[in-house]
């Protein structure tokens, strides 16, 4: 191993089995999907800010069917909302985030030549790609994409007669998601096996960087929860195509009572949220792992409470499996279950609080190198606090009664797992870009991007809480059909203004990214003076990662500013001195 194989263009760039290339493939696909998801959000934000006003460019992009006279069609509005959610949740923040960084960092940071199975890794990416293509394609079909919201609750999603989007669009959604789930499962199994089996000499579990811990636990969450979503999706397909009634009962639609009885739509909700809630952490944990590493490195300080961080991640992961019911307080399930889920939900706040305090303790008395990556990481901590706290309102069933499914929820989850995880992803891209491409990104553009995005995110989502508290439900095509919402309409305009601002700001990043890939300044081997193994590998990304022997690990990854050392960092490959204790 370690040498260069003969590679053709196809084996190197398309059907590559190299973890670094697959990571980049995931990243670039995710960037493309993120741009689509973001563009969709701008389209429906325009409708929400100025309902009923015609915009010629909307007609130009969407045509007469979906934007007659420049006004977004209500069916298209719902389709955009649905596909925006699906794309960002699954294709950007699940596939994109884990796919990029688990692939890039797991072999590098544990000292392995590649993933346990390069072939499965390749299959995982291509399934992801195919499912992404199907999902995007579904937007362009005549009857429109799936439109029941990203949770696609039946019976709305099960009955083609209930709305246009529940026809072919919904079928494509289910097909795409099933393929996506296969991709995710294959990827996750590969990550787990790699972390368990391929750690280099000396790399014990308590010497793993927190990134790897988070990727490992995320993969376990995925393996345990995604199959449940697959079963939910398959049963929904059966209801749609084979005449079963898993989710259907006592329905009268289109002027006729349906034959299908005996099922329950609540069953779907249970199955969906059994994935749906762990999914939040499948998104969040990798981002928290990335920023743990970035904050420690750029604070030139060990991460505070390494073991507490691992334990809190484990606690969050465990709890995430027993809180799904807090999405269902208002479904009419037993009020006693509501009590149970309130209790377990609010428990999650404890490990989350520990994480926040540990980040604060890490930057306390640090020497903070505020790189763009570091700023995004600190920004994520800020968003994690802001979004996490409103979770105390939503997780409390008695309070949830009045804010359930309002814009308060939209603000909450966009801050904590939307923008929060995106910030973690940006932090990761800025930080590991030199590792991915051997080039540096332009820091000034990085800063510009950060400030626009940070201002944009708070500008969009902070005022949105008030729209929710005024009682405005989510997924309304227009808020002005209710007289009572006229008074908060101006907030919608502010929100849309900031949304457009931050969307434009993302082009700074895209320019910076692609410009730097080709023309960026060449990076040195360890630009951030980091301790972890990926920076001991040569800047040229060679097949097998390290020439010659794999590195041996002697210490934990967070010996920053350790007393007794001249430099403010000590690589994991430096042997312990006599009498020196390993880190924590």
């Amino acid at each position: 191993m370690g040498g260069h194989h003969h590679e053709t263009f196809i084996s190197k760039y398309i059907f590559s089995m190299d973890h670094k290339m697959i990571g980049k493939q995931f990243l670039i696909t995710a960037i493309f999907m993120a741009v689509l998801g973001m563009a969709m959000s701008i389209l429906f934000r325009i409708q929400l800010a100025w309902p009923g006003e015609g915009f010629a460019f909307l007609n130009f992009f969407l045509g007469d069917k979906w934007a007659p006279e420049g006004v977004l069609d209500p069916n298209m509005y719902l389709a955009l909302v649905t596909i925006h959610g699906t794309i960002i949740v699954f294709f950007v923040l699940t596939g994109g985030l884990s796919g990029t960084f688990s692939n890039l960092l797991i072999p590098y940071q544990i000292g392995a030549r590649d993933m346990a199975s390069g072939f499965m890794n390749m299959v995982s990416f291509w399934l992801f790609f195919v499912s992404a293509v199907i999902m995007v394609y579904s937007v362009f079909i005549e009857s429109g994409a799936a439109s029941g919201g990203w949770t696609v609750y039946p019976p709305l999603s099960a009955l083609p007669q209930a709305m246009d989007g529940s026809g072919l669009g919904m079928t494509l959604w289910l097909v795409s998601m099933s393929i996506f789930i296969a991709s995710s499962l294959i990827g996750s199994l590969n990550y787990i096996v790699t972390v368990i089996n391929l750690r280099t000499k000396g790399m014990t579990m308590v010497r793993l960087p927190l990134t790897i811990w988070c990727f490992l636990i995320t993969a376990v969450l995925g393996v345990l929860s995604f199959p449940v979503l697959l079963s939910a999706a398959l049963l929904l397909m059966f209801d749609r195509m084979l005449g079963t009634s898993f989710y259907l009962d006592s329905i009268f639609i289109g002027g006729e009572p349906l034959e299908a009885t005996g099922g329950s739509p609540i069953l779907y909700e249970h199955l969906f949220w059994f994935l749906g809630h762990p999914e939040v952490y499948i998104i969040l944990l990798p981002a928290l792992g990335l920023i743990s590493e970035i904050i420690s490195t750029n604070s030139r300080k060990p991460i505070f409470g390494y073991r507490a961080m691992i334990l809190s991640v484990l606690a969050i992961a465990f709890l995430s499996f027993i809180v799904w019911g807090h999405h269902m307080f208002m479904t009419g399930m037993s009020p006693f279950l509501g009590t149970v889920f309130t209790f377990t939900t609010l428990l999650i706040a404890i490990p989350s609080a520990v994480k926040v305090f540990n980040y604060l303790a890490t930057i306390w008395k640090g020497n903070l190198r505020l790189t763009p990556g570091m700023l995004f990481a600190l920004g994520m901590v800020s968003l994690f606090i802001s979004g996490g706290l409103t979770g105390l309102v939503l997780g409390d069933s008695a309070l949830d009664i009045n804010v359930h499914d309002t814009y308060f929820v939209v603000a909450h989850f966009h801050i904590v797992m939307g923008a929060g995880a995106i910030f973690g992803m940006f932090a990761g891209v800025y930080h590991w870009f030199p590792r991915m491409y051997g080039k540096m990104m332009i820091s000034k553009l990085g800063y510009l991007h950060f400030w626009i995005t940070f201002i944009g995110v708070y500008g969009v989502f902070f005022p949105m809480h008030f729209v929710g508290l005024a009682g405005v439900p989510r997924r309304y095509y227009s808020n002005l059909d209710f007289e009572m919402f006229n008074d908060v309409q101006f907030i919608n305009v502010i929100i849309t203004g900031f949304a457009i601002l931050s969307a434009l700001g993302q082009f700074v990043f895209i320019f910076n990214f692609f410009y730097s890939v080709f023309k960026g300044k060449k990076s040195v081997q360890n630009p951030w003076k980091s301790n972890t193994l990926e920076w001991t590998a040569p800047v040229e990304r060679i097949h097998g990662n390290w020439p010659g022997e794999l590195p041996t690990v002697y210490r934990w990854p967070y010996d920053y500013s350790k007393p007794g050392y001249e430099e403010d960092y000590v690589l994991q490959t430096v042997p312990l001195k006599d009498g020196e204790h390993d880190g924590h």
């Binding site: 006729e256 305090f357 903070l368 409103t390 820091s443 000034k444 439900p473 997924r475 500013s561």
Partner: protein, 476 residues
């Protein structure tokens, strides 16, 4: 207004750009001697930016909380709603204090400890006491909060008050129908098999029989053809009445004669199976041998019709007739159950009247998809789920007039927008003290017109309610 806000956004962006440009100038002046990828001056500028952002964030948070307060919902108009508001107030105090403290530390540390070359960070990998403290303190606070929350929830969902009035709300795409329990204070049996003219599907004996008769009328033309003759542009079909044959087992021979042109305009409804098990083609209510399919297509029958759609329609029809017959049989066993519905009052209006001070048990059903009945002013919400009855009980404590007066006293406002009837253009938009009043809206995405699914609620004094209800028509 919009233009102003966009301009504001552009100004903010401009400030951000200017800030970065300034940082760039500083850097160009001071080429860093070290090989650090980020220069000290860049870090300093951004550290300052970090602090400024924190201050602006706090300021904006406070400004918004104060300035937007008048647009928020007035305090609750229901008995349990007051408890919800109090729990919310306490939770918000807790949240905002934690927000200001932790964000304060984050923005302050981020600025205070920014990078200085040669400085070495403080070695502080862990501290068990500190970690124990910030695990235990949030745990204790949260347990207190969760206990308070759970007891409030328990009181709301398991109310001990005697129920004064039972009201049912049935949702469908895209509207609501209300049913009051009537003199016997009991909502009668209802079934989706009876929807149609019978808006909430009340199942009394007469209603079931009437519906069965309707089925027969609709479907006497669904016959299984045993013979077809074409003479002089007239087509004669002979067969059996589908309805009676399938449902009752009786066989009723019948004959239908159509003109050729009527036959040509017929639409193929379904491929299906006849009662005798042979393969059949059902055509706009007529069934014929599939062997004749080609000949029939040659006669000009519509080939594009959706066969599956109508095949399922026929299945649905049959299942429903069987269902209705089962209900009739059940009626014979337990007639009282079905009699409760006789005095029920169905109101299909875009106003719901409720009496003040009554503990009202709402029962929700849905005809088609999941909706959610959301009463923001009463702090009440419950999903309406097809195939399932859901419940929520609350007591309105203020009449609509009293609520209006309270909203004015609390300084709440609403916007009176007057639009041109033809163009929809806003003619005037005036902020007025008060509220637009109680409303019930749909809060679970349910299709294209989800955003416009509402009913106004009027809470009135008991005697006014009683006389209004007495004037309503009972179901039978």
């Amino acid at each position: 207004m919009e233009l102003l806000l966009i301009l504001l956004a552009i100004v903010v962006a401009g400030v951000a750009i200017a800030k970065v440009m300034k940082a760039k100038e500083l850097v160009d002046g001071l080429k860093d001697p070290e090989s650090e990828p980020i220069s000290s001056s860049e870090i300093r500028t951004n550290a300052l930016g970090w602090l400024v952002f924190g201050i602006v964030l706090f300021a904006m948070a406070v400004v918004q909380m104060i300035a937007f307060d008048k647009y928020m919902l007035p305090s609750a108009a229901s008995a349990h709603g007051a408890d919800v508001d109090e729990l919310m107030r306490i939770t918000m105090i807790l949240i905002m204090s934690v927000f200001f403290v932790t964000q304060g530390l984050l923005f302050w540390f981020g600025f205070k400890y920014y990078f200085k070359p040669g400085k070495k960070a403080f070695w502080f990998p862990h501290d068990n006491k500190l970690e124990m403290a910030w695990t235990v303190v949030p745990a204790v606070v949260l347990i207190m909060l969760v206990t308070y929350g759970m007891s409030t929830w328990d009181e709301i969902m398991n109310p001990e008050d005697k129920v004064d009035l039972k009201v049912e709300i049935v949702s469908e795409q895209f509207g609501w129908t209300t049913r009051y329990a009537g003199a016997d204070s009991t909502l009668g049996e209802a079934s989706f098999a009876l929807y149609g003219k019978n808006a909430v599907g009340i199942a009394t004996k007469n209603a079931i029989i009437e519906r069965l008769a309707e089925c027969k009328n609709i479907n006497t033309t669904v016959i299984t053809i045993s013979n077809k003759a074409v003479t002089n542009n007239m087509i004669t079909l002979t067969g059996f009445n589908h309805y009676d044959d399938e449902i009752s087992g009786k066989i009723t021979p019948m004959t239908v004669t159509l003109t050729k042109s009527a036959f040509d305009n017929a639409v193929i409804i379904s491929k299906g199976r006849g009662f005798d098990g042979t393969s059949k083609l059902i055509v706009k209510g007529f069934v014929t041998d599939s062997l004749n399919l080609e000949a029939e297509i040659a006669l000009g029958w519509n080939k594009d019709a959706k066969l599956d759609k109508v095949e399922s329609s026929i299945k649905n029809f049959r299942a429903n007739v069987l269902r209705l017959r089962r209900m009739l049989k059940d009626y014979a066993n337990d007639p009282t159950k079905y009699d409760f519905g006789k005095d029920d009052i169905v109101v299909n209006d875009n106003h719901i009247k409720l009496p003040k001070g009554n503990t009202i048990e709402f029962q929700f059903r849905s005809k088609d998809v999941i909706h959610s009945a959301y009463f923001p002013h009463f702090r009440a919400q419950m999903n309406t789920v097809p195939g399932m009855k859901t419940k929520f009980t609350f007591k309105p404590t203020e009449t609509s007039e009293e609520f209006q007066a309270k909203a004015i006293a609390e300084g709440k406002v609403y916007l009176e927008v007057i639009r041109d009837e033809n163009t929809g253009e806003v003619l005037s938009s005036i902020e007025k003290l008060g509220t637009t009043g109680y409303i019930l809206l749909c809060n679970k995405v349910c299709g294209t017109s989800h955003f416009n699914m509402k009913v106004f609620i009027d809470v009135v004094e008991q005697d006014e309610f009683d006389s209004w209800l007495a004037g309503q028509k009972t179901f039978e």
